[in-house]
Symmetry: C2
Subunit: 184 residues, 2 copies
DNA sequence: TATTGTTATACTCTATAACTATA
DNA sequence: TATAGTTATAGAGTATAACAATA
């Protein structure tokens, strides 16, 4: 995930001069929602901001974004095989191999052959890996505070809660098939 | 911005078994906030969800993500030169040229030489371009409803408001230099 | 035959630098 | 000399297919 640092000052000025819309008495909240930018057009800059804030922290600890993602998954969850880990962090089997090699060379994770299935290699985070992960996380949390400080306490709580809800969804949850209507 | 459709079922189970933390009487909200995932780890899956939802819509109208971004900027703002447009959408001068060529060939934008500066080419969206942009937006909004429907009305309002606030920030707004303290 | 981990290849995207034509 | 637009080249990142070992 590479992100350019170019600032995305998406022009927020929305002009609907010649949109002939029935001049009903809409509430402000409805008008607000209609005139807002697309969600992706707002979420993307926020992600770039977050990544830009995280990269220096990661670099200071000599870990890549993928490495940090792997360490996080291994620290939070039980031992995994490479395939399950890859799916857990939304990556590809082939994509994380280089990352795992680096992490192993750095002594942050260990890969031991599975006695029950000699094809598989069981992954686990080392004490040093745990230390690095948590040091990085602490610094990232500090950076996040700069962002969240722009919100009111109530906004902040709701924003994080909403993020937790939405980030847990799978693409299937958004498919049109979930609509109650049936064609038969 | 290419996004794999692999589901990011980030394991949300957080285990702090051996983190010796003073067992004070923390409020639930504080504990919640401490045990949550990193913001980027939540924002990223949300963006992927949104992009996955948008791509089919864009494909149906034969426009790329960058094309839609350009059409949006030109529809919402005044006529721009290519350089200013590029910066407005967070892209690079050289990166959008191919996109502009496609849009021009498709008759969705026009590029006319600037009479005052024969180096520059003034951009403007055509009626057809406006039609496409708004048709795409309407469909994207419909898809977004699937996502936002997972939130309560109050959560939704606050979430969108928070996104508007945060997405308007520039990297400078997050730098450590903004802290009130000085070293001298 | 299917699966785990791995490697190799090709393809996409991006950044950088160079070029032109104007100013 | 500097700038707007363009083009070309190199590099990073990714997906896909193919492979060896094991089930």
């Amino acid at each position: 995930m590479r992100v350019s640092y170019a600032r995305a000052h998406h022009c927020a000025t929305v002009i609907f001069g010649h949109v002939t819309d029935r001049p009903g008495r809409r509430r402000d909240s409805e008008r607000r929602d209609r005139d807002r930018r697309d969600l992706a057009a707002m979420v993307h800059p926020v992600l770039r901001l977050l990544v830009a804030a995280e990269l220096p922290v990661l670099a200071a600890h000599d870990v890549s974004m993928w490495s940090y993602s792997v360490l996080t998954a291994l620290d939070d969850g039980p031992v995994r095989t490479q395939a399950t880990l890859a799916e857990a962090i939304g990556a590809d089997k082939t994509r994380i191999i280089g990352t795992l090699d680096e992490l192993q060379d750095a002594g942050l994770i260990s890969r031991t052959p599975d006695p029950n299935d000699r094809r598989a290699r069981l992954l686990s985070i080392t004490d040093e890996g745990r230390r690095v992960r948590r040091a990085v996380r602490a610094q990232i949390r500090a950076k996040e505070e700069h962002l969240l400080a722009r919100l009111t306490p109530a906004e902040r709580t709701t924003f994080v809660r909403a993020l937790e809800k939405l980030s847990a969804l799978s693409p299937d949850d958004l498919s049109d098939d979930t609509r109650p209507r049936r064609t038969d």
